[in-house]
């Protein structure tokens, strides 16, 4: 049996998290990244003992952990098992899991720990049905997640990449399987451009994919608003400390100040920006340019409006520049006599930032627009797997790129791309072979 790994604690923020690794190489794999403070190696540890140490990615220290070794058959699954208890928080536990995957563990399938426990005789027959329920429930959850992902941006991008690869493979197949005329799709320039394009797209998804990134790094958020709408007060309210200089003069904030804050289930990376207005002041102009630059990269805009003055034309202009980004309007200064809430396509949260109200109002608004996508409660398992699959596919495609440059024969290059395409298709539980062959018949005049 392969060695599998998964985060066994609920995928949410908490005090500690536990990652379980099970299978014949569980101990060896964990040894790659564990560095005990008392020189205890997992391979030298007896069952039911634990060691205190750190998990390292190369030379980088990731977290202090407790590592417990269970020796077969005396473990939950009946196989060699390692449990790594680390500090809670999705980021850390996911990084450790990623390391485990890179060292040879595979993502656990639906209900797999329990299934293995059952197959290894650790659970009684009367529990079998419960095990099946678990597998089915997990399977359904993965399916829901897969469906969800399919509709999401990631799914669409992935499908586009899959389709491009399948087209390429169909052309290769057509050529490899006895075509007399060389398909223009396979001219070295075209082939190389296609492969590079696909590799770049994958790379982009791996490093920049919104949901995954928002989950790992936080949601890039800009605070926008007209001068003196109270952005810096809002910033201080969100951060709970005086980060921005709060003055009564318009145009005080000229830098982009970045701060990480937790609001409910979400991590926001906040940039407080200069107020947006036409100005001749050169320093302020730079600040405003920086604000728009921050807006370009943003996932979310918190747009502060001075409720005393109400929504003005300049506000509408600035909002128009937010494009498709998520926007929440903070109707600030409601402690003063203020305008009515206007009709608007964006959610509006009335606050009086100055009086430091509870952050829950904002958390609710965030939840309404972002849903569970970036909190880790919903896409957890899928994203680990997806990330893993994307990385594996990317590796194969970059390998194909290298081979193309080295002048390797087409069948070898084709094989790398096939592995990559099949990897990507795994997300939807499909095999690409049939699609490739369909593509040959559809696009090319085959046969003599």
């Amino acid at each position: 049996m392969t060695t599998i790994a998964a985060i066994s604690t609920p995928p949410a923020q908490g005090g500690i998290a536990m990652i379980r690794v099970s299978g014949e190489n569980a101990i060896e794999i964990s040894e790659h990244m564990f560095c005990a403070y008392q020189n205890k190696k997992p391979s030298e540890m007896t069952g039911y003992t634990c060691a205190y140490g750190e998990i390292r990615d190369g030379t980088e220290r990731i977290d202090d952990v407790i590592l417990t070794v269970f020796r077969a058959p005396h473990s939950y699954t009946g196989e060699d098992t390692v449990e790594i208890t680390c500090h809670g928080g999705l980021y850390v536990s996911r990084r450790i899991l990623g390391l485990l995957y890179r060292s040879g563990a595979e993502p656990a399938g639906p209900g797999e720990f329990t299934k293995r426990a059952f197959l290894n005789g650790k659970l009684s027959l009367s529990q079998a049905e419960a095990v099946m329920d678990l597998i089915r429930a997990d399977g359904d959850a993965s399916l829901r997640q897969a469906n969800y992902a399919r509709e999401g941006r990631l799914g669409k991008q992935m499908q586009a990449i899959c389709a491009a690869l399948t087209d390429l493979l169909s052309a290769m197949t057509y050529w490899l399987d006895d075509a007399e005329e060389f398909p223009p799709e396979l001219s070295p320039e075209h082939l190389s451009a296609q492969i590079t394009k696909t590799a770049d797209k994958l790379h982009d998804m791996i490093t920049h994919y919104d949901d995954g990134r928002m989950l790992r790094e936080g949601i890039r958020t800009v605070l926008l608003g007209l001068p003196n709408a109270g952005k810096s007060t809002v910033m201080n309210w969100l951060c709970g400390a005086d980060k921005s200089i709060v003055t009564e003069y318009e145009g005080t904030t000229r830098d982009v100040i970045t701060e990480q804050v937790r609001i409910g289930d979400y991590t926001l990376l906040l940039s407080d920006t200069a107020g947006i207005r036409d100005t001749d002041n050169p320093i302020e102009t730079i600040g405003i340019a920086a604000a728009y630059k921050a807006l370009d990269d943003a996932d979310l805009v918190l747009y502060t409006v001075d409720a005393v003055r109400g929504l003005r034309d300049e506000d509408l202009e600035a909002l128009a520049r937010c494009g498709a980004r998520h926007v929440i309007i903070l109707w600030n200064k409601t402690d003063l006599p203020h305008e009515e809430l206007p009709e608007c396509r964006y959610p509006i949260v009335p606050i009086a930032a100055k009086s430091n109200p509870s952050l829950n109002v904002l958390a609710d608004a965030l939840h309404n627009i972002l849903g569970d996508t970036v909190t880790g409660t919903y896409i957890s398992a899928l994203n680990e797997r997806q990330q893993q699959i994307l990385v594996a596919a990317y590796e194969r495609i970059s390998q194909a790129q290298t081979m193309l440059i080295e002048g390797a024969p087409l069948d070898l290059i084709c094989s790398e791309l096939e592995i990559a395409a099949n990897k990507l298709a795994e997300i939807e539980g499909k095999q690409v072979t049939d699609d490739v062959i369909e593509g040959v018949f559809e696009k090319f005049c085959v046969g003599k």
Partner: protein, 625 residues
Amino acid sequence: MEPIRRFDVGVIGAGHAGIEAALASAKRGCKTALFTISLDQIGNMPCNPSIGGSAKGHLVREIDALGGIMGTAGDACCIQMRMLNKSKGASVHSPRAQADRRLYHAYTKKICEDTPNLEIIQTEIADICMDESNRITGVVNAFGAVFACKAVILCTGTFLKGMIYIGRHGEEGGPDACLPARRLSQSLANAGIKLRRFKTGTPCRVHRRSIDYTKLQPQYGDEDPQPFSFAHSGQLRNDAVCYIANTNEETHRIIRENIGESPLYSKMISGVGPRYCPSIEDKVIRFAERERHQIFVEPTGFDTEEMYLQGFSTSLPEYVQIQMLRSVSGFEHIEIMRSAYAIEYDCINPICLDHTLAFKGLHGLYAAGQFNGTSGYEEAAAQGLIAGINASAYIRGDTPIELQRSSSYIGTLIDDLVTKGTDDPYRMMTARSEYRLSLRHTTADKRLTPIGYQYGLISEERYKNFQSKMEHIESAVDQIRNITLKPTDALNEYLQNCGTSPISQPQKLYAILKRPQVKFHDITSICGIDLNLTKEEADEAELTVKYDEYIARQNRQSEALSELERIRLPEGLDYSQIHGMSSEAIEKLTRIRPSQLAQASRISGVSPADISLIMTYLKAGGYHG
């Protein structure tokens, strides 16, 4: 009725599947009858006078490696040999022979005649007989004579309820003006076997003298022709010339104007045709943007003037056929000797078979070839060989042969057929295998000859030669791993000449040979290394070095699958009893009845969770004992 003769195995049909089936069965000691509608059509090539081709050449090599006849016959009847796809990477190199059609018939007929335990009988089989426990007991011919058989292999090709179409005219008939098998379909239907209609087509045969070859492009055989058979020695005949002609706008216009006369486009034929081998009207209609299509003019033999027009199969009326041919440059005065036609025939959806090619739920009934929904002589022969071995294993009580996908194109072919079924005549392609890199045609012997030997189809002598070849290759690869090359001027000059970087430190020959541009032959002669290998052995050692790493990676991808391959699924498994299975999975698994879990996992609509559930259910069943 009292049987007039008694056999162990009866093979119905003596085409490429039937021949292999009958020979394998007889060689393995079973008293075998080979029934054919016409003794003069044994091993006939009613379509293309050629053996092999892309992926098909791989099949021929595999058939030969297992001890079948097609490779030897292809070599013996070869008139032109070419290695296809030479520029495209070793795993898709595929041998193809132009064959002398009448010689192939005579050659295979003689082999069958000379084989002990094998009798050839000219008759039309009308019925198969089974006892009350669905055990095969024999066959009955059209005149009521009974032949007792304990096992039967159906290799009916395109004969079963054959209908020939030219234009809007349909006529009962078999290939090449043979009689069709009119009666057997009803008997099969009575036995609960569901039949369906497929169709295929063949182009015209024309007279050699009626073509202006100066307007065509010649195509010659290879300078260094490689045989199909691993046991071949001596020369191959290789002097025939093929030619390439092209259709043009005028040809396409004639086709478009007359398309209503096609039995397919006018919906007279309901049968499904092969996508891989479309008729010329299909090509012109579906790929309207193409300005021309190639036509290959191929001799059908040495003692005949008939030429075959590959790429020009059609079922348009004869008056259109002559018009469209004469519009082609070089064909202005063409004389048609045999008209092109479409043929429609009965066949099965092969998901009713298991991996041994036996019908599920019946005992002793096997099927191979076009009857199973494939197209092509090679696909047919491959199945025939496996069905023949397995029918004889059934008689002898041996373990049947079930080739895994990773072992061969034959295994891939059969697994595809019995797992996915097929909606149009199935043609082998290298893309159908996820193991393409390791299934090179040159490794067929390594992969399959030990199995052929185990089943008694490979002689002691041949097996010894095989073993010594394997040892030579293995030791050569070992030596390549160990030899270190010093950076000499001659070596670096060579490396730079072939476009790769020179070396400054001593390096292993293995590492240098891995470079795609570096040729084993060149580098050994430059460095004065002699490993004392035959050309075949040297080539294989070189490919092993160049492909090993990639194959290892490919294999890693499929390790998890082979685990599932070991888990057998009991025959009577009731999937509806498995708690939590999706209804789609239950429906498909019940219909296809996979034999092991890996096969189940390849069925579309069966999820990894379903596979887990089956595993758990089986384990739970184990507790019941």
